[in-house]
């Protein structure tokens, strides 16, 4: 069986490219690029300038139509993509650093320290994502800071759990034990062995956390508790679109499509990463 496992599990990086993964990467990359370029050079026009008739359908002049105040939707959408991505990515970065630090220490130390961390994490985990986000927005006041904090608090529990579990597994491997016996200092062990051991988990969970971040930002902004006008975000634009959907459906569909596309691409990338990092054999029962 050993032979069989090796043969199946040995995979050359990049030996075959998954077309779905490539498509997802292109979609996500394009969205980032567009948002970035629009932030530097307002090629599509200003997101705040009231330039046209109200609720006009898509045309050459206004590629995605105009909103209820007569602002062109395209620059607002581009700004919204940027805001949503920056807010989510910032939050996920904070989550990643926090959870790695907490998870590694708790997982490596084990015992009461891990138990305590897990109980605290359980408390955070007991709040449904959007409800926790609402609570955070209620305390901090609606806005970007609240949104980022909410995403961090929503994504930290799961990531701490996963990293602590992974770190605990790595901590009992032979090379860590031998490092400890030969007198390598604790910070060095944590940094060199444990951190590299949780890298895969971090990548997969971080990707999933990013899509959760976009969802939370969207939900919170949709409820009016997230990013505030006149700035735009994907969630905010969907909410605006929903109000005028009968008169101007493009206001709903354009941001909704972008939101779904970005979450979908991130999920696909996360799944592919997971499959690459945790490959498995498939069997039939025949």
């Amino acid at each position: 069986m050993r032979r069989l496992d090796l043969a199946v599990l040995r995979r050359r990086p990049g030996a075959s490219r998954d077309p779905l993964m490539v498509a997802a990467g292109i979609v996500l990359g394009l969205l980032c690029l567009l948002a970035l370029v629009a932030a530097l050079v307002p090629f599509a026009g200003s997101p705040t300038e009231i330039s046209g008739p109200r609720l006009s359908p898509p045309s050459w002049e206004y590629p995605l139509g105009t909103d209820s105040l007569g602002r062109s939707l395209l620059p607002r959408l581009l700004e919204g993509i940027g805001v949503t991505l920056v807010v989510s990515a910032t939050a996920v970065l904070i989550t990643a650093v926090l959870s790695t630090a907490i998870g590694i220490v708790a997982g490596y130390a084990g015992g009461w320290l891990r138990e305590t961390v897990m109980r605290v994490v359980d408390v955070l985990y007991a709040f449904p994502a959007i409800i926790l986000a609402i609570l955070v927005a209620a305390v901090l006041g609606a806005g970007r800071v609240a949104t980022v904090s909410a995403i961090v608090l929503v994504t930290v529990p799961l990531m701490v759990r996963m990293i602590a579990a992974q770190a605990a597994t790595v901590a009992h491997r032979d090379f860590v034990t031998s490092a400890r016996i030969s007198g390598v200092r604790l910070p060095v062990i944590l940094y060199r062995h444990i951190l590299s051991g949780v890298g895969g988990t971090l990548a997969v969970q971080g990707t999933y956390a990013l899509s959760v971040g976009i969802l939370v930002e969207g939900g919170l902004s949709f409820l009016g508790q997230g990013v505030q006008l006149p700035q735009s975000s994907l969630g905010l634009l969907v909410q605006e679109g929903a109000v005028y959907m009968v008169a101007a459906p493009w206001l709903l569909f354009a941001p909704a499509a972008v939101l779904v596309a970005s979450i979908l691409s991130i999920t696909v990338i996360g799944d592919t990463l997971r499959d690459r990092l945790e490959p498995r054999e498939v069997r039939s029962l025949a």
Binding site: R2, A7, V8, R10, V282, A286
Partner: protein, 282 residues
């Protein structure tokens, strides 16, 4: 269609397994990596054959192929396999259908897996999965009969063990349960692939002795895949040495594993002598 017909001439001659020119390869990410490159093998009724070789020599692939148990990623490209009267693969490439292979595995071949504890269903009590397996094979057993079968593999207080879950018993005991389940339906051929790899040395000898004793008692032909040469020398009658998908040497254990002719076998045996170990088989 000659595939899958039971009761061929082979069996009358006392030949349980006959493999000729078998070639197999694993398909990994669109590339073939060969596992067997032209293997001929004959196993006679009543013998105890040890297949030895390093990891990756193809011995497990060969053992799995006999029962039509290869994973999907492995495909046979040439050769003929006949096991216990079933043509698993004919020379022309025709293969037995799923029902025929199931019947073969149900009635005539039994496998003992590497990791004993994992080969038992973790959500089921021992007694229940024993009787379920027997029922699925068309030979239902009463609890008393199961107790007897467990006692035969030297499990004390079988009526208590029957009520336990697999995680509640030791690896050695789990392997004995697996052996009892495999032998309970009196197969013609018992294929054991490193059956003691997950056990510690003391239990290992006991379990091996048990397998051999049961095989003799019930006239079951034993095919044992192992890299433990001293153990094969002790428990088997004949040995086959595999390297890189080929059989490099075969013969009685006293010849092959004591005065090997082939360079590769010599290397294996000498490496063992140099280590000064006599392995765990003793």
């Amino acid at each position: 269609m000659t595939a899958g017909t039971a009761g061929t001439a082979g069996e009358k001659d006392g030949v349980i397994v006959s493999v000729t020119g078998l070639a197999a390869a694993y398909r990994v990410r669109g590339e073939d990596s060969p596992a067997l490159a032209g293997v001929d093998l004959r196993v006679d009724a009543g013998e105890r054959l040890g297949i030895v070789g390093e990891s990756g020599s193809g011995k497990t692939t060969l053992a799995l192929a006999l029962g039509g148990m290869l994973p999907r990623s492995c495909h046979l490209s040439a050769g003929r396999i006949e096991s216990c009267g079933t043509t698993v693969r004919g020379a022309g490439g025709e293969t037995a259908d799923a029902a025929q292979l199931r019947a073969l595995r149900r009635e005539r071949i039994a496998f003992i897996a590497q990791d004993p504890a994992a080969s038992l269903d973790p959500t089921m009590r021992i007694g229940r999965q024993f009787s379920l397996a027997m029922r699925a094979q068309g030979t239902p057993m009463t609890d008393a009969a199961i107790d007897e079968a467990l006692a035969a593999v030297r499990i004390e207080r079988p009526d208590e063990v029957r009520r336990l879950y697999p995680h509640q018993i030791s690896g050695g005991m789990a392997q004995r349960v697996a052996i009892a389940m495999a032998v309970a339906r009196r197969p013609q051929l018992l294929i054991a692939d490193e059956p003691t790899a997950a056990l510690d040395a003391e239990v290992r000898t006991e379990v091996l002795g048990l397998i051999v004793r049961l095989a003799e008692e019930h006239r079951i032909t034993l095919l044992w895949v192992s890299h433990d040469i001293p153990a094969v020398r002790r428990w088997c009658t004949r040995a086959v040495v595999m390297n890189e998908g080929r059989i490099v040497e075969e013969g009685p254990v006293g010849t092959v594993l004591v005065e090997p002719e082939h360079a590769y076998t010599r290397q294996l045996v000498n490496a063992l002598r140099a280590e000064g170990t006599e392995g765990d088989g003793r």
